[in-house]
């Protein structure tokens, strides 16, 4: 049994202390946004506006895929994009502090189309009150290669990128696929020397005058007094494709990374102080068994970190809360056993018998108290899958508590017992005072 424990312990140590102590660094434990800083955005998709030929689930997964592409093109490290509930999408952007840009990047539908000028009954361009041109409500259409009428939209884009035009500043250069190029040629031909408006999400971006018929396959450019960032974002949105349904933001949270880091640093020190006090208490009060408890709690800590490291468990503040509570329960299991052992020793049993009786008697209490905790955890994990912002927090707490309590039972029942049996069996220390009993 001892060998088994040592092998496990060695394995745990090996997994948490890799080559250059990456523990608690970005490559070690996975820290949640509340610990390392960053932003999370919760979007609600308006599924009533989807194309009726696809199911809700299809629309959602397509939207998520496109958001994924946008975020990747934006260059955020380790973003997570998750579907929550039926119509919500949670986007987590670690390390991103100013998210106003990210919000407009991700949430815009980015539906690109072109619209022709509206003409009055005399065939003259219509003007609004302010003297601006008025454009059609419908996207410009043209006959495709197969003779069918099609709207020219962002769907036919091959590629878009930001560029600098010497006269217009930042622009987005677009390149059509062959069908799009064909449609574009027809539309520009029809509108030669007339304004053709570029619309994005039903809002006019600009209305340049068509200077020449743009041949199939060649490039067009979108101008609109863009800043460099805006042009970049638009190019990203066009490349990732228009979202199938419009999104609205229903929640966002931004954690300043420095605040998080400062808080973690302090809390870490505080936890270390607390744990040292705890170990001292165990040592002074329970003496030799206390020492064994300290060792087995050390092993418990190593196992817990190893599990967090080995499995994709993101550690959040609430997860740490669960871990602290489970540490308390691990200590409690040891205390239960030792108190029982002392009772038996006072009752005049031999050391060996007292150890066995202590474990057996303490077992029912440990079992029943921990099973109630397991039940509560299971329910919280199950409820934690529902689609609200903080649901992940509750399940994070429950998962670490569950793992911690399971592990605490293992350390108390297997590790502490093995060490105690070894110690008693070796007859190295037989003075009862060392076991905290004054005879």
């Amino acid at each position: 049994m001892l060998i088994f424990i040592l092998i496990l312990f060695g394995f745990a140590l090996w997994s948490i202390v890799p080559v250059n102590t990456k523990l608690l660094s970005p490559n070690g434990l996975m820290l949640g946004l509340d610990l390392k800083g960053g932003s999370q955005l919760l979007y609600k998709a308006d599924l009533s506006k989807k194309d009726p030929s696809i199911t809700d689930a299809e629309a959602m997964s397509s939207v998520i895929e496109k958001i994924q592409r946008r975020v990747n093109l934006y260059g955020t490290t380790e973003p997570t994009i998750q579907k929550q509930g039926a119509d919500r999408i949670l986007v987590q952007l670690p390390g991103v502090e100013d998210i106003s840009e990210a919000i407009s990047l991700i949430g815009k539908t980015a539906l690109l189309d072109f619209r022709e000028q509206k003409l009055d009954e005399n065939g003259d361009p219509m003007l609004d009150d302010k003297g601006n041109w008025v454009f059609q409500d419908e996207p410009a259409k043209a006959e495709g290669r197969d003779g069918e009428e099609r709207e020219l939209t962002g769907e036919y884009l091959k590629h878009a990128h930001r560029d600098i035009d010497p006269y217009k500043g930042s622009v987005v250069v677009i390149e059509w696929d062959s069908e799009g190029g064909y449609l574009f040629e027809k539309i520009t031909e029809r509108n030669l020397y007339k304004p053709l408006a570029i619309f994005l999400d039903n809002e006019i971006i600009s209305a340049p005058i068509v200077q020449s018929i743009i041949q199939a396959g060649t490039r067009g450019q979108i101008e609109g007094n863009f800043t460099m960032g805006e042009a970049e974002n638009l190019a990203i949105q066009l490349n990732s494709g228009a979202l199938d349904v419009p999104l609205t933001i229903i929640g966002q949270e931004n954690v300043d990374p420095t605040l998080g880091a400062d808080s973690i640093q302090k809390s870490k020190q505080a936890a270390i102080i607390g744990i040292i006090l705890l170990l001292l208490f165990m040592l002074l009060y329970y003496r030799l068994p206390g020492l064994i408890a300290c060792i087995s709690l050390g092993i418990y800590g190593a196992f817990l970190l190893a599990i967090f490291n080995a499995f994709p468990i993101t550690l959040t503040l609430s997860g740490i809360a669960g871990a602290i509570l489970s540490l308390g329960m691990a200590v409690d299991a040891n205390i239960l056993i030792f108190e029982r052992m002392k009772d038996e020793l006072r009752g005049g049993r031999t050391l060996g018998a007292a150890v066995e009786a202590g474990f057996n008697r303490a077992w029912t209490a440990i079992r029943d108290s921990n099973i109630t905790t397991f039940i509560a955890c299971a329910i919280l994990i199950w409820l934690g899958t529902s689609g609200t912002f903080h649901a992940s927090m509750v399940s994070g707490f429950a998962i670490t508590l569950f793992i911690g309590v399971a592990l605490s039972m293992f350390t108390a029942i297997v590790i502490t017992r093995t060490f105690l049996r070894l110690l008693v069996g070796s007859r190295l220390v037989t003075n009862l005072a060392a076991y905290g009993v004054i005879t």
Partner: protein
């Protein structure tokens, strides 16, 4: 041997007073809901050049005017001395509206304005969060009740054991919630999602504690150490006293250290654990077990009969 069970009315009285205060405070002050539960937008408005201390009152009143004109007279506006920016909390507004507000402020204050939004939550999501948290606690409590009833099925009337454990649990949760409602009133402490996590921890901790005491009562009952249930419960409490105090002390070491030296972001959360730990230790020793005795001996009416206002018969 100390007679804990014999002094149970004192323990009950203390708990009744504390719980009464908690209930009154909850009824009077309620809890100060954070944005997590009420919905809304919190933002920091940063002017460049920075607002001087001397001009802050004038800025504050002008900002109040602007925000009211923007359609949000309910907004809470605070000047933060250290960072020399304004913290504003209002009903939920969309990111587009935030940038609209920013443009307005820039135009009217003639300064560069930066708005960052640390947290915003639409009211529907907030309501859902609060509801789910409530459901989670209730379902978990019922499930634990059922398990305790099952685990103590060999005892006479196991349902009572479960109920007493749950009463102890409610006692602890109520005390924590009550204290936070007082804190909300006097120190503007808000309850957020972390508070709920803390409450869940308190729930877990109090059940754990109570079960350990009950386990000893169960063992002593089957040993038949005394025909008197009160004596059995009392000696069980005394036998587990060492364990209860030591476990609480060790946990207290960690929690107190985190409370005193830990980071600001977890301060309130740790306070929840701290109160819960103290209440949990107390209730597992002095409430859960004695309550079982009262129930067993049908002493409900005598319990508070010495109080002047309970003199009249219950029915």
């Amino acid at each position: 041997m100390i007679d804990f069970v014999g002094k149970k009315q004192w323990f009950f009285l203390i708990s009744a007073i504390v719980m009464g205060v908690a209930i009154i405070s909850l009824a009077a002050f309620k809890l100060q809901p954070g944005i997590d539960f009420s919905g809304g937008t919190s933002m920091t408005i940063n002017f460049t050049p920075k607002v001087e201390q001397s001009e802050s009152p004038q800025f504050q009143s002008q900002l109040r005017q602007e925000v009211t004109n923007f359609g949000h007279p309910e907004a809470i506006i605070q000047f933060q001395r250290e960072s020399r920016d304004f913290f504003v909390r209002m009903k939920f507004i969309s990111p587009e509206e935030v940038s609209e507000l920013r443009d307005r402020l820039e135009a009217n204050f003639q300064r560069d304005v930066e708005i960052s939004v640390p947290l915003e939550m639409s009211p529907t999501i907030a309501a859902e969060t609060a509801r789910n948290a409530g459901i989670a606690v209730i379902i978990a409590a019922v499930a634990m009740l059922l398990y305790i009833v099952w685990a103590f099925r060999r005892m006479p009337k196991p349902f009572r054991w479960g109920t007493c454990a749950i009463i102890a649990l409610i006692h602890n949760v109520l005390i924590v919630v009550g204290i936070f409602s007082i804190l909300g009133q006097v120190a503007n402490v808000e309850v957020d999602a972390m508070f709920i996590t803390g409450l869940l921890a308190v729930v877990g901790y109090s059940i754990n504690n109570t079960v350990v005491v009950f386990d000893r009562i169960r063992e002593n009952m089957s040993k038949g150490i005394s025909p008197d249930f009160a004596v059995t419960v009392n000696s069980s409490i005394i036998e587990t006293l060492g364990r209860s105090l030591n476990t609480s002390l060790t946990t207290l070491c960690v929690i107190l250290a985190l409370f005193l030296f830990g980071g600001a972001t977890i301060h309130h959360f740790i306070l929840v654990l701290l109160i819960g730990l103290l209440a949990g230790t107390y209730s597992s020793l002095f409430i859960a077990g004695p309550l079982l005795v009262v129930w067993e001996k049908r002493e409900w009416r005598q319990l508070f009969s010495w109080l002047p206002f309970v003199k009249k018969p219950a029915y």
